[in-house]
């Protein structure tokens, strides 16, 4: 096989392989990014837009006061995340981060269950001792979003 191709063409073959692989990588990456990136939602957006069940997404908001309910199995908690207009019930099985508490910002990674409860597989809470006042009411959605993001890291 090798002797049949001229040296000049051998170089061409490699160049074509390289180009196909690199262009393929770019297209593949672009396609996968459109499909695999998980989006950040506020509670009111989740209620309005109703993402497909089982789609990976992140839900950010404030933990509603008095909403944290430990479940009898000892490792599951249920709580509500709100943005001042709407609240969404969340269930999380696992060890909650140290600074997960009422009235502070949280971002839950997971998906919407069939019953309208957000099933969190991971919780990100602010690693900071500063109390965050609950003043999301009256803010524009963009302000609320930034406020919640600012509580992370």
């Amino acid at each position: 096989m090798t002797s049949a191709i001229k040296p000049k063409h051998q170089r061409l073959v490699l160049l074509v392989i390289a180009l196909v692989a690199l262009v393929g990588a770019g297209l593949l990456a672009a396609w996968a990014l459109r499909n695999q990136a998980s989006y950040f939602y506020l509670p009111s957006e989740i209620v309005e837009q109703a993402p497909a069940p089982d789609e990976d997404l992140r839900l950010g908001g404030m933990v509603e006061p008095g909403s944290i309910q430990p479940q009898p199995d000892g490792v599951t908690i249920r709580f509500a995340v709100g943005d001042g207009t709407t609240t969404v019930p969340v269930s999380f099985t696992g060890i909650a981060p140290a600074l997960f508490q009422e009235n502070s910002g949280v971002v839950a990674e997971g998906y919407m269950g069939q019953d309208g409860t957000f099933v969190a597989t991971n919780l990100l809470a602010k690693h900071d001792e500063n109390y965050m006042p609950r003043e999301l009411e009256g803010m524009s959605r963009e302000q609320a979003r930034q406020r919640i993001e600012a509580t992370l890291e």
Binding site: Q10, P70, I95
Partner: protein, 650 residues
């Protein structure tokens, strides 16, 4: 006074870098050769001054001198000594000073030991090195002065992020920095070779030890960082595709490609322009990595916009260095003559496939890392995680690893398919047998399934170059290749095994309860408070037993640091040859039970053993190259001396 002394040393070092730049580049012009002799001494003295400046900062941290702003912001008198020292580079200013120090020491080393290249290329290389260094000196002196004083010292320092108070992490950033900076040396060689149009095998041979060294440190840094994230973050994962992890992975991918293409250039005088291009890409990736980690852009694009000075500075340095290098490449690439030719079925052909695949993976990781930053600029927050990275990188990585198994068996220049037919058939059969075996005996996902098959092919294929060779006379560099490739197989096996077969239990347990996880049983004995130098903790005592083996006690903690107030989970690990039991302690439930999370992770440790083997391969190859150089240099001086004697006698 000490702080001012350090600052003066830093300014002097910067001035010498300026001298090195002028002397190196002007020395290339005819009529200015007299200046050229200053270049090497300037590089040496600059290295010494910079080192002294860095040691000064270490002393300030050791003494907890709170009149220095940086110490006050990042240290605390109650901190253990080793973390006071590591605090020196556990912050922005200190880490940039470390970067410049490593860079100038590397420049000093080239100036004093490198004799292979033509003198003009050396001058251009040292000039380029000084140019890159000057940018970072400016960054330090104007935008992040580590020696700044406070008008009134506070009574106590701020402390260091407790997550960073870990022995593994104390030495993780410097390791990565040495890797990043090593790539800057490769970059300088590339610019030097382009300036004097000397893209030769000798250039590749002079650059290769630096690329090997940088790659070796990056490998160690990534391996250590992965293990740190595994036991410190308490989630039991060993790779998160986190942007900071990607920041170290991207230069590693580029360095791996550069390492292989430099070998082709050194051995066969082919892939000239491509090697030069990769040298530029590799250093760009270190700077992109530094930019991502140091600019604060990862937290939020908005945070970056609030304090754009630092990020902007690094971005400007990136643009200047890479822009000028690319412009140089564009004007000179045409004059770099085409290298030797080779056929597709040859060692070079296999290495080209390696390079293409690594570049594709690099592109995929870069896009995935930058995409969230791009969309955030348009106020759409997305996160890109394993569902993107795992399959898309595997599409290129798995075929590349198959080529890795056969590539070293091929001859340079051109080979006959008939000669390598049987090893290839044997490897293919092995892969298919493992694939069918694992698929039939257990129910695992597609990626781990393919991982097992490819790991088997790599493990066996990597050893085939030893067949029929006298193992005692095999060059060290060849051993290095075999060991590193074998390490890749080991690491891949560990990843596949952990992904496919890990078992997890999350329970709320009373004292005395027994929890089964995989082949292990664990009994909660007690939970009691304990205290350390700057933390308090709840510590559980858990008796664990593997099968019918002996019981061992293990102590996971939930730790609270008080300065700054932070809580961390100190997991406990029980290691066997075939895996690790991972135990984390959580909160106490309202009824008094304790949350416990246990994982049995079969062969997970092989991931890091593999990483260490890859690094060991790098050490062997580096040692082999350097020893050969030393031996050859000694021989040539001997010949020169004899010739001199003969002339005297005549």
């Amino acid at each position: 006074m000490i702080a001012e002394f350090g600052l003066v040393c830093l300014w002097l070092a910067a001035a010498l870098a300026g001298l090195q730049l002028v002397a190196g580049l002007l020395g290339l012009k005819s009529g200015w050769e007299g200046l050229a002799v200053l270049t090497r001494p300037a590089a040496l003295v600059q290295a010494l001054l910079c080192l002294v400046s860095f040691l000064t900062l270490v002393v300030l941290f050791a003494r907890t001198d709170l009149s220095v702003a940086l110490v006050a912001a990042n240290s605390h008198s109650a901190k253990p000594m080793v973390f006071k020292l590591s605090g020196t580079w556990g912050n922005h200013e200190g880490s940039m000073l470390l970067w410049v120090t490593v860079m100038s020491v590397a420049g000093g080393l080239i100036a004093s030991v490198e004799r292979r290249l033509p003198e003009r290329t050396m001058l251009a290389t040292l000039g380029a090195q000084a140019f890159v260094a000057l940018g970072f000196y400016a960054f330090l002196l104007f935008a992040s002065n580590p020696f700044e004083r406070l008008p009134s010292p506070p009574p106590e320092g701020n402390g260091l992020n407790p997550l960073l108070q870990d022995i593994g992490l104390a030495f993780h950033p410097p390791t990565l920095y040495v890797g990043y900076v090593g790539l800057s040396v490769a970059f300088s060689f590339v610019v030097g070779a382009l300036l004097t149009r000397q893209v030769t095998p000798d250039f590749a041979k002079a650059m290769r030890p630096w690329v090997l060294g940088a790659w070796l440190f990056l490998t160690l840094g990534i391996t250590a960082g992965s293990y740190w994230a595994y036991y410190e973050l308490g989630w039991g994962g060993w790779w998160f595709w986190d942007p900071t992890e990607n920041a170290s992975l991207m230069p590693w991918l580029a360095a791996t490609a550069l390492l292989h293409s430099a070998s082709v250039l050194a051995a066969r005088d082919a892939l000239r322009a491509w090697t030069v291009m990769l040298g530029v890409i590799a250093f760009s990736m270190s700077m992109v990595g530094t930019f991502l980690v140091r600019s604060g852009i990862l937290t939020s694009v908005h945070a970056f916009a609030v304090d754009p000075e630092r990020g902007g500075f690094i971005l400007a340095l990136l643009a200047i260095n890479i822009g000028m290098a690319l412009a140089l490449f564009a004007t000179r690439a045409g004059t770099v003559a085409e290298g030797e030719r080779f056929s597709v079925l040859s060692r070079e052909g296999a290495l080209v496939i390696n390079n293409v695949a690594l570049s594709a993976i690099l592109g995929v990781v870069l896009l995935g890392t930058l995409y969230p930053l791009l969309t955030e600029a348009f106020d759409v927050r997305v996160s890109v995680g394993p569902p993107y990275f795992n399959p898309v990188t595997a599409i290129f990585a798995l075929p590349m690893l198959l080529v890795l198994a056969v590539g070293p068996l091929l001859r340079w220049r051109g080979d006959k398919l008939a000669r390598v037919r049987w090893p290839m058939v044997a490897l293919a059969v092995l892969g298919l047998v493992v694939l069918a075996g694992v698929a039939l005996l257990s129910d695992v996902g597609l990626l781990p399934l393919l991982g097992f098959a490819v790991a088997a092919v790599v493990l066996v294929g990597s050893l085939l170059p030893l067949k029929g060779r006298n193992l005692l006379r095999l060059p060290l560099a060849t051993w290095g290749m075999v060991v590193a490739h074998f390490g890749v197989g080991i690491a891949l096996f560990g990843m596949a095994a952990d992904t496919a077969f890990q078992t997890e239990r999350l329970v709320a347990a009373n004292v005395g309860d027994v929890i089964e996880v995989g082949p292990w049983s664990a009994r909660l004995e007690s939970v009691a408070p304990v205290a350390g130098p700057n933390w308090t903790a709840l510590e559980a005592a858990i008796a664990v037993r593997h099968g019918d083996g002996a019981e061992t006690l293990t102590h996971p903690q939930a730790r609270s640091f008080w300065s700054p107030p932070t809580e961390t989970s100190e997991v406990s690990l029980v290691t066997r040859w075939n895996g690790q039991l991972y135990v984390a302690l959580g909160d106490q439930a309202q009824d008094g039970r304790w949350q416990l999370r246990l994982w049995w992770k079969p062969f997970v440790t092989w991931i890091w053993y593999g990483g260490l083997l890859i690094a060991l391969g790098g050490v062997l190859a580096l040692l082999g190259r350097v020893l050969t150089d030393v031996r050859r240099r000694r021989a040539s001086t001997l010949i020169a001396a004899r010739r001199g004697d003969a002339e005297v006698a005549a």
